[in-house]
């Protein structure tokens, strides 16, 4: 305002300059006016990882249309930088209001005290008939509950299982998919017997921790004991699973050096270089698109066999959740953030999200309405999702499995260590990693007494 008055005093002298200046001032005024108009709306910052950040945008637009008083600012964060960026944002007190968080990170961010407790809001929303906690797969929901607090809402799920070349299996004399470890081992041996040199019964990349952990869960191992104070990999249950896992490689049923050997998995799967492949839902569409039509009906997805009669065997509940961060934002923002969470977690939006991204929905209803359940290749995942479990809720989990478990498994597979040596060393290393956690838990226990 002062600027305009000032320009008017000098109008006589240089009219053109004044006009241009006035134009600039008007422009600034109109821009700031816009800003003011936006201030009356509540802004929710939302960080989404990888492809979801882009493909979920139609849903965000729908949300904004239904809630004209709320503006959602979506920021896309690449997956491989996400963890670092989130921790840095936590240190710098600049976390977003709503965030997509990998399931396995929930415990870590809860330990930081960064997550908003959603228990009361979820209960209220359930009574209002919006969110349906019972509709989510139990194993997936469990991963979002720490202690008795609900820390996140499932957004999409994934679970690793077996991609199987049923034609090769049939050639080897197995018409049925294996349901127990014994069946499975027998099937692998029979397949290996008819495979040419350089081909195998199975492909399970040795740099992925998931396979040994899943087998351990199936054998009933908890892997950490005393509330995550110590490693428990030497337990009888995990030992059994680990021996089974290592045996597959030692017997030559799966390649030991698969990481560098296989450059194009789809191509090798087509050639029949392996009949079983441990992978997840993200590969279904790619395989479908890139495998030739002649292979249609000759492969399928197979839930995990189990060491006993209970089929399917358990798998890790993977995927992402939506969380709210406990930061300095005010009540109004928290409410707006919750409305976004509530919106995205309802079955109807789960279906839309699945249509947009191809991700697996976390609730049974969405599986029905989206038609995913009747898709022959996704039916295996639906079956598997009935029996999934989250990984132990210790912030050190990722360090333990990717830093240590994979290395010891590699040592055992390549015969540098026996199974017992590898597991003893693993437990020792894990106990070292968990030293700080023990100290903190013990101190908390003392304070509570």
């Amino acid at each position: 305002m002062t600027l305009i008055r000032l320009t008017e005093n000098h109008r006589q002298r240089c009219a053109t300059a004044i006009w241009s200046l006035a134009a600039v001032v008007m422009a600034i005024a109109s821009v700031s006016g816009c800003g003011e108009a936006q201030e009356t709306k509540t802004v929710v910052n939302f960080w989404a990882m990888g492809a979801e950040g882009e493909r979920a945008l139609p849903l965000i637009e729908e949300f904004e249309a239904a809630h004209p008083e709320i503006v959602v600012r979506v920021q896309q964060v690449p997956w491989n930088a996400a963890h670092e960026k989130l921790l840095t944002a936590f240190a710098g007190n600049s976390l977003p209001d709503v965030c997509q968080l990998g399931n396995t990170w929930i415990a870590e961010f809860d330990a930081l005290g960064a997550l908003t407790d959603l228990t009361d809001r979820v209960a209220a929303s359930e009574q209002a008939g919006k969110i349906e906690p019972d509709d989510f797969f139990p194993g997936v929901w469990q991963g979002n509950v720490i202690g008795k607090r609900v820390c996140g809402l499932p957004w999409y799920v994934d679970a690793r299982l077996l991609f199987v070349r049923t034609d090769i299996l049939a050639q080897a004399g197995h018409a049925e998919l294996p349901r127990t470890w014994d069946d499975w081992l027998e099937a692998m041996r029979d397949v290996q017997a008819i495979q040419p040199a350089g081909s195998y019964a199975m492909l399970a990349p040795t740099n992925e921790f998931e396979t040994p952990v899943i087998l351990g869960m199936q054998a009933g191992a908890d892997m950490l004991r005393e509330d995550g104070r110590y490693g428990d990999f030497s337990s009888e249950a995990f030992r059994r699973a680990f021996e089974f896992y290592v045996g597959i490689f030692r017997e030559g049923l799966a390649p030991k050096d698969s990481n560098s050997m296989i450059s194009n998995v789809v191509q090798e799967f087509e050639r029949g270089t392996f009949a079983f492949y441990v992978t997840g839902p993200w590969n279904v569409q790619g395989f479908r698109d890139r495998l030739p039509p002649s292979l249609e009906g000759k492969w399928t997805t197979c839930p995990w066999p189990s060491p006993d009669d209970s089929w399917p065997g358990v798998a890790i509940a993977g995927g992402s959740s939506l969380v709210m961060f406990e930061n300095a934002s005010d009540e109004r923002r928290q409410d707006a953030a919750w409305q976004l969470l509530e919106f995205l977690a309802q079955p109807r939006q789960q279906v839309r999200f699945t249509e947009c991204t191809g991700n697996l929905p976390p609730g049974a209803k969405a599986w029905e309405t989206s038609g995913m359940r009747s898709d022959p290749l996704f039916a295996g995942f639906y079956k598997q999702l009935q029996n999934v479990r989250p990984v132990p809720p210790a912030p050190e989990w990722e360090h333990i499995v990717t830093g240590e478990l994979v290395k010891r498994a590699d040592a055992a597979i390549n015969g540098r260590q026996t199974v017992d040596e590898a597991l003893a060393e693993l437990d020792q290393r894990v106990d070292e990693i968990l030293e700080k956690r023990r100290w903190i838990l013990d101190r908390q226990a003392r304070v509570q007494q």
Binding site: H83, E84, L87, F90, A91, E108, A111, L112, G113, A114, N207, D257, N259, S260, M261, S263, P395, E396, E398, H399, G403, D410, E432, K436, R437, W439, I440
Partner: protein
Amino acid sequence: MTTIAQSSSTSGAVTPNQPASVGTRRYEGPPSGWWFAGPAVAIIAVFFLAPIAASILLSLTDFDIYALADWQNLRFVGLQNYIQLLHSERFWIALHNTLYFVAIGGPLSVAASLGAALLLDSKLTRLKVVWRTVFFAPVVTTLVAVAIVWRYLYHTKYGLFNLALTKLGFEPIDWLGDPQWAMPAVIFLAVWKNFGYNMIIFMAGLQSIPSELYEAAEVDGAGPARRFWHVTLPMLGPTFLFVGVTTMIGFFQLFAEPYVMTQGGPGESTYSLVMLMYEQGFRWWRLGFASAVAMTIFALTLAATLLQVWLQRRAGA
């Protein structure tokens, strides 16, 4: 021969009349001198000395994500991080790999730089500017882009190197997949990427050698080999020291090449000290331990530098 040695040693000393006691001499000028030096000193103190001091302090604690959440979770652990580091198998693997990289890659890089500089300095070379640009180009290209291209060159089936090897009748090599060959592959890339920088410095060194020395040597009957050995090399002494030290310091910080090309594999054969630090610090967020790794790398680099300076002094004396 003795005259040359003497002339090089006198030209190296800055003020031959005064005893060299720069380190112990105190500032005796007017106080306004501090005002001139002040801004620079302040910036160095804030952005350089303070972080180093903080890092040293951090290395004596167990700072991690728990401490990030609540300062009460921070413990002073003394030298525990260092003891743990020395007891960790991965540290020794990383140290071995880093020393391997420095010991082979460093001299190779310096030799390649000197060779290129000599070729470019030769009177017979045409299009010097073009060659200089070509040789210097790798230095200014982004390492990540270069590493991705080189990953193709090293590809077992479709790579250019293996194509050449098979044409020459050798067995193809799984460059990045074989623990034996992964480090040589990384060294080769690093040498190619870095030699241009030192080449420029060597060229400057070569140009500053007075031509009279060569003429005198020629009159004395020295051939090209003896001229190189007895004129060029001694006159390049200070350049060698500089190039050697900076190259070694740079090579101790091996990180980006294996990070992009091999992730430290296969079987930890390209896992370096800085990768260990990165992994502990930014992947597992154990910043206390990572600081201890950083301090150890610093101490190692300092020791190796002092050793090199001492060796060259002795060789020069």
